[in-house]
């Protein structure tokens, strides 16, 4: 059966469930339109023109809970509208979740199937969370929930007395929905490119061979929550270049880290660190594979006035074997050995929490670039919601992390009906 057939079957099962089983069905219809704030020679002026229906069903069958959640999308800017690809979310269906949750024995919970996975302590900064992200959705201004792309995984949680152990096993690698040039222009090492240089990376797609294993152990530590993490898999975006095929690919990666989070007086504080072991280039001499890195962050969040919260973070990526890297990139385009980023999130709720104003700012003093994410949400009633947001990039150079997206800056408007 082809994929469309499978989807139809899922929908059919979903709709039959509503009548036959103990099922809850919810969802929303969401329409969004956005435009670039400046001309980009390699991309469409429109950044978003799409509408989607999300159906979210929860079915209780004895001790099992089955969740199915899918988006049915009309994206006017998509080039492959009818070709459904459930891995990268192309086409008119994006299957977000299809999983079964159960407790095989008292101290174990299992969730098997397509699911959204998240852990770590950063706010829009991820160190030990190496689950797939959808950077296109994030940068184009879809709802923040779309930053997380689904994983096809077995997720097991064990609850021994000493703490909690989570194990996520992804039998076939789930990559990020990375910036590939189709919708967002980017720096390709020598210049800014977009639709003229779409990246179609080679996927490592052997089941049970090109797999990912992510483990977390966490437990209370005094009044804090402490966690340890380990990951065995791949760089999530195609940062490697295979000289034999001339194509981008996902190099092997291990990561190890830890975090602590909790309240300190009137604030929430957190810190997290992770070491990225780039397994294919441990010496840092291969210019086609990213070097190993140490990544750290620290965050501080508190209510600064009634209904107003401020959250700050400091984040750094420290590249190992920097000299090896520097000699492999065109002069003048090398990043610093340590990339520093500061973030500030401001949130203000007004009118009985029906109007929410937000501004998230990334600023990198080492790259001399910044990314502003203003957001206004107004809930008209229990169903209707209006949203306006922006993704604004500025940078001194074209090759830096946020600076490369300057011409992708966009603003957009959305309306949503939830049911």
């Amino acid at each position: 059966m082809n994929k469309i057939g499978q989807i139809s079957l899922v929908c059919l099962i979903l709709s039959t469930n509503v009548f036959a089983l103990d099922t809850e069905l919810h969802g929303f219809v969401d329409a969004r339109a956005g435009t670039r704030t400046q001309n980009d020679p390699h991309e469409d002026d429109r950044s978003l023109t799409e509408s989607r229906l999300q159906l979210d069903s929860l079915t209780y069958i004895g001790q099992y809970t089955v969740q199915a959640r899918a988006d049915f999308v009309y994206d006017d800017l998509a080039t492959k509208r009818n070709k459904v690809d459930l891995e990268n979310g192309d086409g008119f269906v994006d299957l977000r979740e299809l999983n079964v949750l159960f407790t095989p024995i008292d101290i174990v919970d299992m969730k098997v199937g397509r699911q959204i996975l998240t852990w770590g302590t950063g706010d829009l900064l991820f160190i030990n969370d190496l689950f797939p992200k959808d950077w296109n959705s994030f940068l184009l201004g879809r709802d923040e929930e779309y930053l997380k792309a689904p994983s096809d995984a077995i997720f097991a949680s064990l609850f021994p007395a000493i703490g909690t152990i989570d194990i996520a096993y992804t039998p076939r690698m789930d990559a990020d929905r990375y910036v590939d040039g189709r919708r967002i222009s980017y720096w390709n090492g020598t210049g800014l490119v977009g639709q003229n240089a779409v990246v179609d990376a080679d996927r490592q797609d052997e089941w049970f061979q090109d797999h990912e294993i992510a483990v977390r152990f966490y437990r209370p530590l005094l009044s804090y929550e402490a966690a340890l993490y380990a990951y065995h898999g791949f760089w999530k975006s195609p940062t490697g270049f295979d000289t034999s095929t001339g194509n981008a690919y996902f190099p092997l990666l291990n990561a190890y880290g830890g975090s602590i989070k909790g309240s300190l007086g009137k604030a929430i504080v957190n810190t997290e660190a992770g070491y990225y072991d780039s397994r294919e280039d441990r010496s840092g001499t291969d210019p086609f594979v990213p070097n190993s890195e140490l990544r750290v962050l620290a965050g501080y969040q508190r209510e600064v006035a009634k209904n107003t919260t401020a959250a700050m973070q400091y984040y750094a990526e420290w590249m190992m074997d920097y000299d090896g890297y520097k000699s492999g990139v065109p002069s003048g385009t090398a990043r610093d050995e340590v990339r520093h980023v500061l973030t500030l999130r401001l949130t203000k709720m007004m009118m009985n929490q029906n109007l929410i104003l937000g501004l998230f700012t990334f600023y990198s003093p080492s790259d001399n670039d910044a990314y502003f994410r203003p957001n206004v949400t107004y809930k008209l009633d229990d169903h209707w919601q209006l949203t306006a947001n922006g993704n604004l990039f500025i940078g001194e150079d074209k090759h830096t992390f946020f600076g490369q997206f300057e011409r992708d800056s966009n603003i957009n408007l959305g309306v949503r009906y939830s049911f």
């Binding site: 998240t118 923040e144 930053l147 997380k148 949680s157 009137k266 929430i268 809930k379």
Partner: protein, 258 residues
């Protein structure tokens, strides 16, 4: 044991049983009756938030509560409506001695987000109830004064010890003598003007515990009001404390989903 001491102790006990209760005893009993009934409990809540023009927003959630050591409590709030809050969980570890710990579970992101300890007089999910109405205002925050005793009620005046922390100058609470349930609270602003009332409009005795089954808060300044209706109330259901952990944010327990 010294018989003299025992006699004194017994006499004191007898005297206090028959004497009028002290104001501290009254507020303590009222606090127990309003927020601590049973060892644990559950309820379904329907909250209607009505603006001055009659426009209504509805929240429906299931609530679990458990009393823990030292007067502390844990709350699990599972939202069913409106749709944009569906399946979100608000988890609270109430800490009488310090700041409460609070988390939101956002299922679409699979994310547990800790909420900074905040002003407890901010609105609870956009309603006219404030956070403190739901979890209980710490008795040590106010000085209490018994201003009136009627045939059926005690009237207590509560004045904040730190007036700068709150928007009221004082509030009065009428407490039923027989059940010790607070029936009506009236809040007065810095100019001494009544601006807010919270009233227990329906009560019932459930498993021997006097219980508020409907309460109404009115904001006299905005003209808005919120009605809370409680149903399917049960006490002493034998909750385990681990319900109030991340495990059960990821897997909401039957006690709230059913």
């Amino acid at each position: 044991m010294n018989t003299k001491l025992l006699t004194i102790a017994l006499t004191t006990l007898t005297v206090s049983t028959f004497a009028e209760l002290s104001v501290d005893e009254i507020v303590n009993k009222a606090n127990q009756a309003a927020y601590y009934a049973g060892q644990d409990g559950r309820a379904e809540v329907e909250m209607n938030i009505i603006d001055k023009d009659g426009g209504t927003r509805t929240r429906k959630f299931a609530l679990l509560r458990m009393n823990t050591d030292g007067g502390n409590q844990k709350f699990y709030v599972y939202f069913k409506e409106p749709a944009d809050l569906y399946k979100q969980v608000f988890l609270v570890w109430k800490n009488v001695e310090g700041n409460d710990s609070r988390w939101m579970w956002l299922p679409a992101l699979n994310l547990k987000r800790e909420i900074a300890p905040g002003d407890k007089r901010t609105s609870f999910v956009g309603s006219d109830f404030v956070y403190e109405d739901v979890s209980g205002r710490n008795l040590n925050e106010d000085t209490h004064e018994l201003v009136e005793t009627t045939d059926t009620q005690y009237v207590i005046k509560n004045t904040p010890k730190n007036p700068g922390d709150v928007e009221f100058s004082y509030y009065t609470v009428k407490i039923d003598k027989d059940t010790f349930l607070p029936r009506q609270a009236e809040y007065y602003d810095k100019n001494g003007k009544l601006y807010r009332t919270v009233e227990a409009t329906k009560t019932e005795t459930i498993q021997g515990f006097p219980t508020v089954t409907e309460s109404v808060v009115k904001d006299l300044k905005t003209g808005g009001s919120t009605i809370n209706k409680f149903s399917n109330i049960e006490y002493n259901i034998g909750l385990k404390e681990n319900i109030f952990t991340e495990r059960f944010l990821r897997r909401p327990p039957r006690e709230v989903t059913r």
